[in-house]
């Protein structure tokens, strides 16, 4: 026990005196979690609280196109800038850049007429189906395709964001076309124009959609950027100890301390055990520091407060297993690396890659199918699953066992491979 204690003390002293290493392990992730959470929170607020500037070039000017503009205004997502129908495509591009507009919509000439003809055609077909002779319908008019509305967008606009805008546009267009069909039907049946109040009550009677997060514990706490980001970047920080731990191992190999220890009446696996205990302690300290920031600092800087899971035992067990996995990864990188540069370079880059495929940087649901398979080999993915089960789904220890089992298997594999490698290098 005395040997183990002196080894833990030795590693702790080396760690404390490594100021750069401490910065990488604590300052960097703290900075990262604050910056990422702030950015994502502001993006969230931008989408939900602010309106997107939209430039409309209405080259049609008819009633249908006016209705489309009204519908776009009503969606509430856009801040519709004053229309200018005289702009050509080139001028439109220049205007977008000048006014810093990300999206512009061009309603083509003939849009209203085409929509009207299409509506009358649809209404006529509907009346024919019902066996009603249209009084004064104009259903016999030939119908062509409605010329497409064009959406110009700045190439920096993210794809997912562009799809949201496109969805909103289609919704507005659908509303306009439905209104025309309704008008045509009413006109054909009653030989009169549909009143505004009836039109409003027919077209605007959409039912509300309630959004409820499904939690395992039945609670309906709405997840926010903090609940997503703090656990995710804590895991990233834990695995980033690979830089410090692997260089520590390489330094011991290169300095000959490994060899010296081999001449002493002890087993080097005990040295590795001491190293693991010390660094698991570091990962737990990271958890405490970053979670404390989420609880105490975030509300002070305008970010949502971190709500800890109700199952404390689950949180401690998950943190311990994640920390142990990160430490095992650091050990194996150190065992295989021949120089400190190799350990630092490979260690840092590999953690970023594992974070990317593990769902830390890009959400798992947004990944292509092929990467989702690859994701399962990333220990960071299983760590994230376990934390999300606790933080977002209100799960308990029994609910995270499914995620902890792969982590334990990964830990055992990393440890066994490290020991085999050390044996082959005559170091144990």
């Amino acid at each position: 026990m005395f040997k183990l204690w002196t080894a833990i003390l030795k590693d702790a002293r080396i760690l404390i005196r490594d100021k750069a290493g401490l910065a990488v392990m604590f300052a960097m992730p703290v900075l990262l979690v604050v910056v990422i959470a702030s950015i994502q929170n502001s993006t969230f607020q931008l989408v939900n609280d602010n309106k997107i500037p939209l430039l409309i070039c209405n080259r049609d000017g008819g009633e249908g196109s006016q209705q489309l503009v009204v519908a776009l205004r009503k969606i509430g997502m856009f801040d519709v800038l004053p229309e200018d129908s005289t702009l050509n495509d080139k001028q439109l591009g220049a205007a977008m850049q000048k006014k810093d507009v990300m999206v512009a919509v061009v309603i083509p000439n003939g849009f209203s007429q085409a929509v009207q003809h299409k509506a009358q055609s649809v209404a006529g077909k509907a009346l024919d189906e019902l066996g009603i002779e249209a009084a004064k319908s104009d259903s016999s008019k030939a119908t062509g395709e409605v010329p497409p509305v064009t959406m110009f967008y700045n190439p920096v606009l993210q794809e997912s964001f562009r799809y949201s805008v496109q969805g909103a546009l289609q919704s507005a267009q659908q509303f306009t076309e439905n209104r025309e069909v309704l008008q045509a039907l009413y006109q054909a049946l009653n030989n009169a124009k549909l009143s505004d109040s009836l039109e409003q009550s027919i077209l605007n009677n959409r039912s509300a959609i309630r959004q409820i997060p499904v939690a395992r514990n039945g609670s309906i706490v709405i997840p926010n950027t903090t609940q997503h980001n703090v656990p995710a970047w804590t895991i990233f920080a834990m695995f980033f100890i690979v830089v410090s731990l692997s260089t520590n191992v390489v330094k011991e190999k290169l300095s000959g301390s490994f060899v010296r220890l081999k001449t002493l009446p002890t087993n080097y696996t005990l040295v590795l055990l001491a190293k693991q205990i010390t660094y698991i302690g570091v990962t737990l300290a990271q958890v405490v520091v970053i979670f404390s920031l989420g609880i105490f600092l975030f509300p002070l800087i305008g970010l949502p407060r971190l709500n800890l899971p109700s199952d404390w035992i689950g949180l401690i067990v998950v943190s311990l297993v994640c920390g142990w996995c990160a430490v095992s990864y650091g050990i194996i990188v150190g065992v295989f690396a021949k120089t400190m540069e190799q350990a630092i370079g490979f260690g840092a880059v590999s953690v970023v890659i594992l974070a990317a495929i593990g769902g830390i940087i890009v959400p798992a649901f947004a990944m292509p199918e092929s990467l989702r398979l690859l994701m399962k080999i990333s220990p960071l993915h299983w760590c994230l699953e376990a934390y999300y089960t606790l933080f977002l789904e209100g799960g308990h220890l029994k609910d995270v066992l499914y995620s902890l089992l792969p982590l334990v298997i990964i830990i055992l594999a990393l440890q066994i491979i490290s020991l085999i490698r050390l044996k082959r290098q005559h170091l144990i």
Partner: protein, 248 residues
């Protein structure tokens, strides 16, 4: 004659498809000797030390230290010998006291024994004034003395020294050699390798010259110097191993 070290029919190579380093190698070192293991680069000195200290495992043959087999009585044997490697094999971020505390514990000493030996060694080796400073800031000579102190903290009966004065100044070299002589007087057997023939002449009572994994000469130092009066140990060394470079 009571033996401190007895190597019988040693056979070793690093891997299956590599050359044989030792083939039926034999060596005896008596207790209380100051034994110099000399040879050019690539002669196999460091490999032999690694085999004698259990860092490497022999393919065949038997190595007994203080009458115990290093394979079967590994833990017991490792308590009896000390090792001072060629390089500064300790933690440069730590102070001499912290290094001695760690290596002392791992050599099997308790807290009280470590404290007592640390104070003694730092005093003898002139490191008391820097006992709590990080070794990384030390000169080569001071690091060499820390390296030596770690090797002898548990008062070994047999001490292996692999070029212990490499990179140290003349004063430190002198101090180390004198300390080793004093240590030998208390009964510690020394097994020492070096490229410095004058230092070997000063320290050793018996020497073995080896090349390409084989012993060329193995005799009392005085007997060797008497039989080769001209050029001393260095002259004999060059005569037996040649003057061509050993860059392997």
């Amino acid at each position: 004659m009571s033996l401190a070290l007895h190597i019988q029919h040693l056979h070793f190579r690093y891997a299956e498809n590599t050359g044989v380093i030792f083939d039926d190698f034999n060596l005896e070192i008596a207790k209380g000797e100051r034994f110099g293991l000399l040879g050019p680069n690539g002669a196999g000195k460091t490999t032999l030390i690694n085999l004698m200290t259990g860092v490497l495992k022999a393919d065949k043959g038997k190595i007994d230290l203080m009458g115990k087999d290093i394979r079967t009585d590994e833990k017991e044997v490792k308590r009896m010998f000390g090792f001072v490697p060629q390089f500064y094999s300790f933690y440069q971020e730590l102070s001499p006291v912290e290094n001695l505390e760690f290596f002392g514990a791992w050599a099997g000493l308790n807290k009280q024994e470590i404290k007592q030996r640390t104070d003694e060694l730092l005093e003898v080796l002139g490191l008391t004034s820097v006992r709590d400073k990080a070794v990384s800031k030390f000169s080569g000579g001071m690091k060499g003395r820390v390296n030596l102190a770690i090797g002898v903290i548990h008062k070994p009966s047999l001490l292996f020294l692999d070029e212990p004065t490499t990179g140290v100044d003349v004063q430190t070299r002198h101090a180390i050699v004198e300390y080793l002589k004093e240590l030998n007087k208390t009964g510690t057997t020394l097994v020492y390798t070096s490229h410095l023939m004058s230092e070997a002449e000063n320290l050793c009572t018996k020497v073995a010259l080896m090349d390409a994994g084989k012993l060329i000469v193995h005799n009392d130092l005085n007997a060797l110097l008497t039989s080769h009066p001209q050029g001393g140990l260095e002259g004999l060394f060059l005569k037996l191993t040649g003057k061509s470079y050993r860059d392997s």
